[in-house]
């Protein structure tokens, strides 16, 4: 398999000066109970960029993503070592509230998970729990968010219909709109297109390009073409097998500009993976 072409626009952007650091991940290891899922990850994620996490199954890319907005707190026995700072504040400091973190750092999941409510109520959900009650304010937010998610024209006449009646791609874009409605700083996306067909995938990729001037995006993807199409920087994770305990731990192999990762990786493991010789 030939090396993947990285589109020129992305190359230029990534070559330019990096934005402010949003996340500074230092030597982070994550455990589920006694099982070490990921070890010693260090990387910096920059403002208004799309950062892609790629790697084979079980390499811990989703685990790292979930440590960034403390979603892993919800899994009993999950534990994080090392330090993650978000805009200069330690995310795992004692007095930090996970809910306050998640209000700024939103998440879109692998499988679309709209609430069993109307389309309108799905988008208005976040603003409402944050105390916005006025109908006119909510109407504005719903319209703006749905437009940002390129869904407005398709649903504007059925806002009060159940979200469960939408197609898979629409549901996922609704989930993105729902996330954007609380005006987060960062949007984390966990394989958001893995359940979608190519057309729906293309829509969501376009959408990411459109909104990245306002948000910082981190996306986990299985699809390397997708990483080259949408991301400015790419982190490649791999699996390290521990022979003694027969367990697998994820490690960060290489993190660099997307063009560099795909065209001129410094680690041979990365080269094998992106050219399809491994994975």
């Amino acid at each position: 398999m030939a090396k993947l072409e990285v589109p020129e626009t992305v190359k230029d952007k990534a070559a330019a000066e990096p934005g402010n650091p949003v996340f500074d991940v230092r030597d982070v290891s994550t455990y589920y109970g006694n099982f070490k899922a990921v070890k010693n990850v260090s990387l910096t994620i920059h403002e208004n960029e799309v950062t892609a996490f790629i790697g084979p199954s079980g390499c811990g890319k989703t685990t790292v993503l979930r440590t960034l907005n403390r979603m892993n707190d919800l899994i009993p026995g999950a534990r994080v070592e090392g330090d993650i700072t978000y805009r200069g504040q330690s995310l795992y400091a004692k007095q930090v509230s996970p809910t306050a973190v998640r209000r700024r750092i939103g998440m879109v999941f692998q499988k679309a998970n709209p609430f069993p409510k109307s389309i309108y109520d799905n988008v208005a959900y976040g603003p409402r729990i944050n105390g916005i009650r006025k109908k006119s304010d909510l109407d504005g937010i719903v319209e703006r968010s749905l437009k940002q998610a390129a869904l407005w024209d398709e649903v504007k006449n059925r806002l009060n219909k159940s979200a469960l009646g939408m197609s898979g791609g629409q549901q996922q874009r609704l989930c993105i709109a729902r996330t954007l409605a609380v005006e987060p700083d960062v949007v984390l996306m966990d394989e958001p297109c893995s359940a979608l067909d190519p057309i729906a995938t293309g829509r969501i990729e376009d959408l990411m390009q459109e909104i990245k001037s306002q948000y910082t995006i981190v996306i986990v993807t299985h699809n390397m073409q997708q990483a080259t199409r949408v991301s400015d920087r790419t982190a490649f994770y791999s699996v390290e097998r521990n022979e003694e305990s027969d367990t697998r731990t994820g490690v960060l192999v290489e993190y660099d500009q997307t063009a560099k990762i795909f065209e001129n990786p410094s680690n041979p493991l990365t080269g094998d993976y992106v050219t399809g010789r491994m994975g």
Binding site: E47, Q89, V96, S97, R103, R104, I132
Partner: protein, 324 residues
């Protein structure tokens, strides 16, 4: 939009925030609601024990464990009621178990889901008919009808050893241990059926297919794959049904005949613990009231033990099935 503004422009964002009062309050409420189950169970034991102290102290162990219940002479022996409770419940279980197991096998192994659902509704209807209605029907319709049948059985077994002492003798008006057993059987069938059905439904398909693959008929598959797997859980279900039969009040109060006697004759009138409480509590005072509450405590203790054991068995067999 003060709270939701992008943090990007706000400098170091205030991520520190105390967990809201409402959030903690809700968790506390939920915990209290859960604990209420334990609180009620403990309070039942404590309050009824307190009220029955005077029965224990005036009657003594001998008094309590006698069969002599005579409020007029202040004698409050419990054993006739215990006997009636056990006998009528055993009869109920003997009738209800084969029927319940048959129906639960029918529902899980024979008919497809589309037909099983209406059958389940019908069984549920049995459970929704109020027990006092079963009692009313039992005393006004069933008992008079059974009286004739009892009569012919009694004369048929006249002189035959064992059978005569079980089924001989006259039944006054059709109310008897046996009539109570029949009505109780009707009432516990839905609960045994639904629990047994749950247990049987956990038998892994792979076990059943294994039996079929060896050329087993459906019945052989049930004997070979379903039964060994669900035996324990079905025993638990039967115990739950037994506990239910012992505590069932209104049907027994109306059809068991209300006479405190210990006899092997199943067609004779008897009494049960819940029945005597229901019938006599209204005009009871002093030691008698204390004795009736004490009987309630005794019934509570027995049914708690039975249910602890039964639920333990059901849970363990369900867990084993899940693990397998």
């Amino acid at each position: 939009m003060t709270q939701t503004g992008p943090a990007a422009t706000a400098g170091p964002s205030p991520l520190t925030e105390r967990r809201g009062f409402g959030d903690r309050g809700f968790q506390a409420l939920a915990l209290i609601a859960g604990l209420l189950v334990l609180v009620v169970l403990v309070l039942i034991a404590v309050s009824t024990a307190q009220q029955s102290v005077s029965w224990f102290s005036t009657s003594g162990l001998n008094g309590i464990f006698s069969t002599h219940w005579d409020p007029a002479s202040n004698r409050f022996g419990a054993m006739a009621f215990v006997y009636g409770t056990v006998i009528s419940s055993v009869i109920a279980i003997i009738i209800a178990v084969p029927i319940s197991i048959g129906v639960s096998l029918l529902l899980t192994q024979v008919v497809p889901g589309k037909i099983a659902r209406p059958i389940v509704y019908v069984i549920d209807l049995l459970a929704v008919v109020p027990s006092v209605v079963w009692g009313l029907w039992g005393i006004l319709v069933l008992a008079p009808w059974l009286q004739g049948i009892y009569g012919s059985i009694s004369s048929g077994v006249n002189g035959i050893p064992v059978l005569d002492s079980l089924f001989g003798g006259p039944s006054t008006d059709g109310s008897s241990f046996f009539t109570a057993g029949i009505v109780l059987a009707i009432m516990v069938t839905p609960i045994i059926t639904s629990l047994a059905r749950e247990v049987i439904a956990t038998v892994p398909a792979i076990d059943k297919e294994g039996a079929y693959a060896l050329g087993a008929t459906r019945w052989e598959m049930i004997r070979g794959a379903v039964w060994p797997h669900s035996q324990g859980g079905v025993v638990g279900a039967v115990l739950v049904g037994f506990g239910r039969a012992m505590g069932e009040t209104m049907a027994a109060a109306l059809v068991i005949g209300a006479s405190a006697q210990v006899t092997s004759h199943l067609f004779y009138t008897g009494y049960s613990i819940p029945a005597v409480i229901a019938n006599q509590f209204g005009e009871a005072a002093g030691t008698m009231r204390s004795a009736l509450i004490g009987l309630g405590l005794f019934l509570f203790a027995i049914t708690i033990v039975i249910n602890l054991v039964a639920r333990g068995i059901v849970e363990r067999s369900a867990r084993r099935a899940r693990g397998a």
